[in-house]
């Protein structure tokens, strides 16, 4: 234990003296968080108001066949303009978002009180045209409905009799669960920070130590190599947790001070602390995994080449859930990344975790970490470790 503490203390001092790297590491978490929150909000708010409140330029083909409709639209912030000559190409090349076409039989159908045909051309895969599309759909529905009711009234029929149902929607989501929804990006960001926060230092204290040729002397100390390894794991996991702490703090503060949030984003101190605790195991797990990897690789460069794969790992469970959504079940708390995702989401939604869930989580993460660490300890004690081949 004394040896482990000595290694921990030395690695921590060594690490903190690498000021630039430490600052860059901490600043990334600290600046990225408010950047994301404020940036996304300002951008989204601006875009939404712009699209909903601005005058919508709507190309209409054969506009002269439906003068009443065109007149009605122009009273509702829509400016009807000439259609492009080639509708298909104009939409595909994003010159226009959508085009209305009044069917040649429209006047005749209208007069005979048949449903009159209007075609809407659009590209459903264009996210940028979403607002324009929903505005036009809404306007046309209103117009159709309004005229239909007038027609019924002119025949002496109560227009309300055309409604067979009255549907009242009661949303039971709480304020916290709503804000959890709008914070969907937060878990991945935090899990990644915790998982790989200490990565640079793990590689530096393992593969880097070998490259700087100080590892042989270190492994000659009269102590099991695993103690030295554990001291290093403690120091680097500690740094990962520090980074996570800074990132969480930055989120908390940017939620509190960011102006004009589109949706309420709230993160209480208790929730932030809960999340931090929930992330501690993944921090240790990440550091252990990297210790194993960099103990088996020859150089720092080789160890770093694993980073891009590791960065993708935290997304995999979320991706699977996205493709195949299933309800939260207890076994999920044993899968790394998935469990952290569930935990953070649960905490953000303001729900309470059961003891069983916490038990499964803590137990499974500990087992996985211990398995990885024992493997790493075997590598650390081997000849290969010291010789690097």
């Amino acid at each position: 234990m004394k040896i482990m503490l000595a290694v921990f203390r030395k690695e921590w001092i060594d690490l903190m003296r690498d000021r630039r790297t430490v600052l860059i590491g901490l600043a990334m978490g600290a600046l990225l968080a408010p950047g994301l929150v404020i940036g996304i909000n300002v951008f989204a708010v601006e875009k939404l108001t712009q699209q909903y409140e601005s005058v919508l330029k709507l190309p209409v083909k054969n506009a002269e066949l439906a003068p009443n409709l065109v007149n009605w639209l122009s009273q509702r912030n829509v400016e009807v303009v000439e259609p492009p000559p080639e509708i298909d190409t104009a939409i595909r090349s994003q010159q226009v978002d959508l085009v209305l076409e009044i069917h040649p039989e429209y006047p005749q159908q209208w007069l005979s009180q048949m449903p009159a045909r209007i075609d809407i051309y659009y590209d459903a895969s264009r996210e940028s045209a979403r607002v324009a599309r929903s505005r036009v759909n809404g306007l046309l529905d209103t117009y159709s409905n309004m005229t239909g009711r007038l027609r019924l009234m002119s025949r002496g029929i109560d227009p309300d009799s055309s409604w067979a149902l009255t549907v009242v929607r009661r949303d039971l989501s709480t304020e916290a669960s709503k804000s959890g929804q709008s914070l969907a990006f937060l878990p991945y960001f935090l899990i990644l920070t915790a998982f790989l926060g200490g990565a640079y230092f793990v590689i530096d204290t393992t593969a880097g130590e070998r490259e700087r040729e100080s590892l042989e002397s270190l492994l000659l100390a009269p102590t099991p190599a695993s103690y030295i390894m554990l001291g290093k794991v403690m120091a680097t996991a500690g740094f990962g947790l520090l980074m996570t702490f800074v990132a969480l703090l930055a989120f908390k503060l940017s939620f509190s001070f960011a102006p004009n949030l589109i949706t309420e984003m709230k993160l209480s101190w208790a929730a932030a602390f809960g999340i931090w605790c929930a992330l501690a195991p993944i921090s240790v797990l990440g550091v252990s995994l990297l210790t194993l990897i960099s103990a088996t690789t020859k150089t720092v460069k080789e160890a770093q080449s694993y980073m891009s794969v590791l960065m993708l790992l935290p997304i995999i469970p979320s991706l699977i859930l996205m493709i195949n959504p299933i309800k939260t079940e207890i076994w999920m708390y044993s899968i790394p990344f998935l469990s952290q995702n569930q935990l953070i989401t649960t905490i953000l939604r303001g729900e309470v975790l059961t003891l069983a869930e916490l038990g499964v989580y803590a137990g499974s993460q500990m087992l996985i970490t211990m398995a990885i660490l024992s493997l790493a300890a075997v590598v650390y004690s081997s000849e290969k470790m010291a010789l690097g081949r």
Partner: protein, 248 residues
């Protein structure tokens, strides 16, 4: 005292299995400096790595003060101070911190190391740079720091792999004085080298290794007599059977 008996070890390489150490036996006595002399690639570093238990032998034993290193690596290493072939320091720590860290790894507190450290600072002439960070140290400063950290726990046995490699004359002389003092203190010292002057100036016993085999051992005088040459240099060339890899 270090007793080495019939060590054998080979390595896998791309071109097949290379027998680095085929048969090495010798005993290094307390109060003596034992030189391991041989051309580059003769198996000196591998022999030393077997000696301090970084790699395990395929055959043979190593005993440090009577403790078999393959049986009890940890206690054997307590009796051993090693300057390995690779002598990297931690660039962001000062020389003092580097040395004290190794004291801690041997289970000593900073206070325990105090007296020995001030001794080493004087005998290795480290006053000038002891509290500077190791980044940008000269070769000599690096070697001195590495030696100090190897012996901070006052080991009875000291093993140095080519200690004067790349050092200037002044530093080399200082280092020799340090080793001679250690001998006077009754410690057992083994150093490997391919420099003959070093052997002539320092060693009480010489073990000549070539191709992983001990080809001769004895005092410098005995070796001269055995090879029937007047000059030590000619004696080595004749013992090894080639001039390759030796330095005057």
């Amino acid at each position: 005292m270090i007793e080495i008996n019939n060590l054998k070890r080979s390595f896998k390489s791309k071109s097949g299995i290379v027998a680095a150490v085929k048969s090495v036996s010798f005993t290094a006595q307390d109060g003596q400096i034992t030189g391991l002399l041989g051309p580059n690639g003769a198996g000196k570093t591998s022999t030393l790595r077997l000696l301090y238990g970084l790699i395990s032998p395929e055959d043979g034993t190593v005993k440090i003060d009577g403790i078999d290193i393959s049986q009890d690596k940890i206690s054997a290493r307590r009796h051993l101070g090693v300057l390995p072939d690779t002598r990297g320091l931690y660039p962001r720590l000062t020389a003092r911190e580097n040395i004290l860290y190794y004291g801690e790894l041997h289970g000593l507190t900073h206070a325990d190391c105090e007296a020995e450290l001030s001794d080493l600072i004087v005998s290795l002439e480290m006053t000038e740079f002891i509290d500077r960070r190791c980044e940008g140290f000269s070769q000599g400063q690096r070697t001195k720091t590495a030696i100090a950290r190897a012996v901070i726990h006052r080991p009875k046995n000291i093993v140095l792999d080519e200690p004067t490699n790349g050092l200037d004359v002044m530093t080399t002389r200082g280092l020799r004085r340090f080793l001679q003092r250690a001998r006077e203190q009754g410690r057992c010292i083994i150093l490997s080298t391919h420099i003959m002057q070093e052997v002539a100036a320092l060693c009480d016993q010489v073990v000549v290794i070539s191709n992983g085999v001990v080809v001769a051992q004895g005092t410098p005088e005995e070796l001269r007599a055995e090879a029937n040459e007047l000059n030590l240099e000619d004696a080595f060339v004749s013992l090894i059977g080639s001039e390759e890899g030796l330095m005057l």
